[in-house]
């Protein structure tokens, strides 16, 4: 995979006459950026905007890759819902992107990805037979199958139990290493643990939050991790009040 580019976004998004947000955001190449902020502030809208999905509003501004190449076709996406197709096997779900583009899927690559996410033995099963955590791992393998330098994650672990979520954070940090990742989350602990950069979003502006000096992925119980997430939580509660 080539070196992952960064993304710079600057502008204002409106829904009708209402300003949803003013943003000035830079996602460093090859690093994880977590986007936090209260519900409805437009975190997912930023992600949808860059992906070219419907946002229900208009954006005045620009977003570009730092290498100057167009962003279309360079981003893979993982949502909160696993979006597994119930009638396909796990393996076929991983390959669905190739089929949707009319290509012949490389099942050997898909099987290798399933091995990496610990689902080798479940490749031929239907998603209905898997647990929530396993389905999210399959969705992660599907995201990886796209083999794109930039990955957008929209609260992908929020519906999982705490233990599975921590496991998924570690797995995602490992398999998405060196890619440019934008993670939208409501969880300060998750943000502090996995990110190289945290951006807190409000309607007025986006601001970067100081992360611990230790390398991501951080220990859950490290003093600086806990202190940072406590401060972040305090700030988020204050900004929501």
């Amino acid at each position: 995979m080539s070196t992952s580019p960064g993304i710079t976004l600057k502008g204002q998004h409106r829904i009708g006459d209402r300003v949803l947000f003013n943003a000035n955001l830079h996602l460093p190449g090859g690093q994880w950026t977590c986007l936090l902020g209260r519900s409805g502030v437009g975190k997912s809208t930023i992600l949808r905007l860059i992906l070219g999905l419907e946002t229900g509003g208009t954006f005045n501004g620009s977003f570009v890759a730092t290498d100057g190449v167009k962003l279309a076709g360079r981003i893979s996406y993982m949502a909160q819902s696993d979006l597994m197709l119930p009638w396909l096997s796990v393996l076929d779900n991983v390959c669905i992107g190739a089929r949707l583009r009319g290509e012949v899927p490389d099942t050997a690559v898909a099987r290798d990805l399933l091995r990496r996410v610990g689902l080798s033995n479940h490749a031929d099963q239907k998603p209905a037979t898997l647990s929530g955590g396993m389905r999210q791992r399959a969705a992660l393998a599907r995201t990886l199958f796209e083999d794109r330098a930039i990955v957008f994650l929209d609260e992908p672990f929020s519906a999982l139990d705490a233990g599975t979520r921590a496991d998924m954070q570690e797995l995602a940090a490992d398999v998405l290493k060196d890619r440019t990742v934008l993670l939208v989350t409501h969880d300060p602990a998750e943000a502090v643990r996995v990110s190289h950069q945290i951006t807190v979003m409000s309607a007025q502006a986006t601001q970067n939050w100081q992360v611990p000096k230790t390398a991501a992925l951080r220990e859950i119980n490290a003093a600086e991790t806990l202190a940072c997430q406590a401060k972040l939580l305090e700030y988020l509660r204050g900004s929501a009040a």
Binding site: S81, L85, L100
Partner: protein, 249 residues
């Protein structure tokens, strides 16, 4: 529904019928007894089977053609916003015309043979199949559409690999309705003008005051409809289970 429940329900129905015959003391050319109808059915078994066979072919062919046309229309409507905008009002408007009123016209255009009955059956099931399947195609989790955009999917590939399969339970619902409506279409066509079929046999029996034969034909038609409904329901359940990932196709 268990087998013995069906047998019991049938016995109760026959008992009530026989009781009605005894209580009203109606002459056999008005209300024949179940036994008399059974005798007439046995005596005329060859003619009943011959005519039932014709009706069955009309119904099955009408069902197949109507389903294919309905599925193709629904896909076309779901693929093109322009087609949806232009064709949906026309489809709804055509439903305002009672299909039964078209039967004489269809006989005029397609003759007294099977053709007019098959067209009648197609017309009667086309809308329920189209409407149910189109609803299913349109009712898709927006997350799949987002995935389609992020994966640079072609519109037709998305339709083929996701939308159609996701809409199979809705198609099953449309097919269940179609299985009930299809025999109605064929029999109405036969009433208006035919030389074969259960509808024709019923009219013939009625004209000759052979009410027991008319009842026998009616019962065979009901059995035909039930068998068709059960067969289509089994297929519809399989489609639903396949779409839910709980069985093989």
């Amino acid at each position: 529904m268990r087998f013995w429940d069906i047998v019991l329900a049938l016995l109760i129905g026959l008992g009530l019928w026989q009781a009605l015959v005894i209580i009203t003391d109606a002459p056999h050319f008005i209300l024949p007894s179940p036994w008399r109808v059974a005798q007439a059915a046995y005596k005329s078994r060859v003619i009943i089977v011959e005519n039932a066979w014709v009706t069955a072919i009309e119904v099955v062919l009408g069902l197949l053609i109507g389903t294919l046309l309905g599925v193709a229309t629904a896909i076309q409507l779901a693929m093109s916003k322009t087609a949806e905008r232009l064709m949906l009002p026309i489809l709804v408007f055509t439903q305002a015309v009672p299909v039964f009123a078209l039967a004489p016209l269809l006989t005029l255009w397609f003759g007294y043979g099977m053709g007019s009955k098959i067209v009648m059956t197609v017309l009667i099931i086309y809308f329920p199949v189209t409407s149910a399947f189109h609803d299913g195609l349109a009712r898709i989790d927006s997350g799949y559409r987002d995935l389609m955009v992020s994966m640079d999917a072609g519109k037709w590939n998305f339709m083929r690999h996701i939308q159609i399969l996701n809409a199979l339970p809705s198609l099953g619902t449309g097919l269940r309705l179609a299985a009930v409506y299809a025999p109605i279409g064929a029999v109405i066509g036969e009433w208006v003008g035919a030389s074969k079929g259960l509808g024709y046999l019923m009219l013939l029996a009625n004209g000759r005051a052979k009410i027991d034969l008319m009842f026998a034909s009616l019962i065979v038609l009901a059995c035909l409809t039930v068998v068709l409904h059960i067969t289509v329901s089994v297929l519809a359940n399989r489609l639903t289970r396949y779409a839910q990932g709980t069985s093989k196709p």
